[in-house]
Symmetry: C2
Amino acid sequence: MRITLKDCAEIIGRYNSFLILTHASPDGDTLGSAFALKKALEKLGKTSQVVCNDEIPQKYSFLWEGTDNDEIKYEAIIAVDIADRNLLGEKFNGIYGDRVMLAIDHHLSHRDYAENTYVCDKAATAENIYGLINELGIEIDSGIATCIYCGMATDTGCFLFTNTTPDTHRIAAELMEKGADFAIVNKKMFETKTMSYLKLEQMALATVQTYFDGKCAIMHITQDMFRESNSNEGECDGIASLPRKIEGVQIGITVREKPNGAFKVSIRTVEPYDAAKICALFGGGGHNRAAGCEFICSLEDTKKALLKAVEAEII
Amino acid sequence: MRITLKDCAEIIGRYNSFLILTHASPDGDTLGSAFALKKALEKLGKTSQVVCNDEIPQKYSFLWEGTDNDEIKYEAIIAVDIADRNLLGEKFNGIYGDRVMLAIDHHLSHRDYAENTYVCDKAATAENIYGLINELGIEIDSGIATCIYCGMATDTGCFLFTNTTPDTHRIAAELMEKGADFAIVNKKMFETKTMSYLKLEQMALATVQTYFDGKCAIMHITQDMFRESNSNEGECDGIASLPRKIEGVQIGITVREKPNGAFKVSIRTVEPYDAAKICALFGGGGHNRAAGCEFICSLEDTKKALLKAVEAEII
């Protein structure tokens, strides 16, 4: 059932302990949203545990203090920034996929799986968590502010992407005044690259090919490249935006080989090209300017199928 | 004489036509400030011309419509974002350096050269221009908003750097509501890399070597690399910040060969390391976190000398 922010607050009021689910391959928005919510619930005297199907990369450790490993008992499950139960990850989907009491998300493509679903088209799920925390009447402290800022900065590329709104900026201003450590978030998220990531980026850039008068660029990353560079999926959040950054490119595509040999595709576009529409052709989804899908075939066939879809979109 | 924002507005009221000076090697803040002011003055029925010692790169053409080449007669000269008359460029310094009636700037290091000087420590000069336009009672339209946004985004690295304040975000929100075309600014300033630049970046990254337990990284760029990548100095604004972005690096050094064979050195540090102090040893200077100097010797000897200076600073 789709519900309002007020309903979310009411539902949270009913329980005292929560399990908070983040999506697989966790990023700054799912984690920032989850830890902001956890810290806010603490202020109401409620307990909660943030969990993830995958290991949480070390670079996010600034979002929480102490360990979060002690298993707690919980009365209800909340999922944050998870547009589809498949994104919980295989194991978590199996365990929790049909038991989520409340899903809070910002993806308009959200496919309902929870008993109650709140989706509002904000720049980040963290912006919805900000709204919820205000709805709950909880004072935002510096810890909560840092988490929300992290989510918003992550999903807007530090206020760069066109999903940024005047509200995003105004909330960022307020969070800074509440003590958000924006310097550490920005440094960790946008100003730190590992040598292994830089090597991978070099290898990936060497594969870039452009099509349709340079309007479309495709780049690929193989498991071999991960091995050779000593890099891993966890440090590649931003790599999908690289092809679109090339001068003249309006549809930028990144094809990443997964450990199981499937290909994960990320598409980034500029107006008027619709990334979600292209990905929907292959069973994927997302936003107008950023979407994803998956292929189980060869790299060559993946690219061929994508180029055919792009051609139809461009002409 | 140092003056207030109110004084600035009063001085502008006295004249009907202005020459607006921008600094040499113009960037988004000096140009955004200048064109915002020009557009605002037009709304008061005043004429003005924006000029620069150097050619204005094509990528800034979105800041103004039509040509700005017709020489106008002017009654007073305004300088924006120019901390020192030397930064006007050699020719302009000679012609205009001692004739500036009003300097508007945000550099606390400003060395007075104008008859009247307004310096306020904001993230960008454009933020001071925003204040002035409000002081003058001029309604901000979409054209003015785009110019101010461009200046603020440029100098904060799109709200990334620690000079960003809550005010910066709040003004950005207001400018978006006034119709600032933030998407084009962000795309042009932060999301566009030429293939030639990307090739150069790959070559440069391949030269990175780290020292002192990874605390210092040195990268070099030769004239051969410029030729091979088909890149040039003009598109390398941000490359000097790359070595410091490597995880763990606290002193990042970029050594660039100049056409005459000399080596231009850029040093970027994180606290507590003082880039200006290191560069001063070699006759250079700058800010605590970003400074430069020059060597006339071999690449090898340049690096040796730098590493010796870094060692003394690190230990």
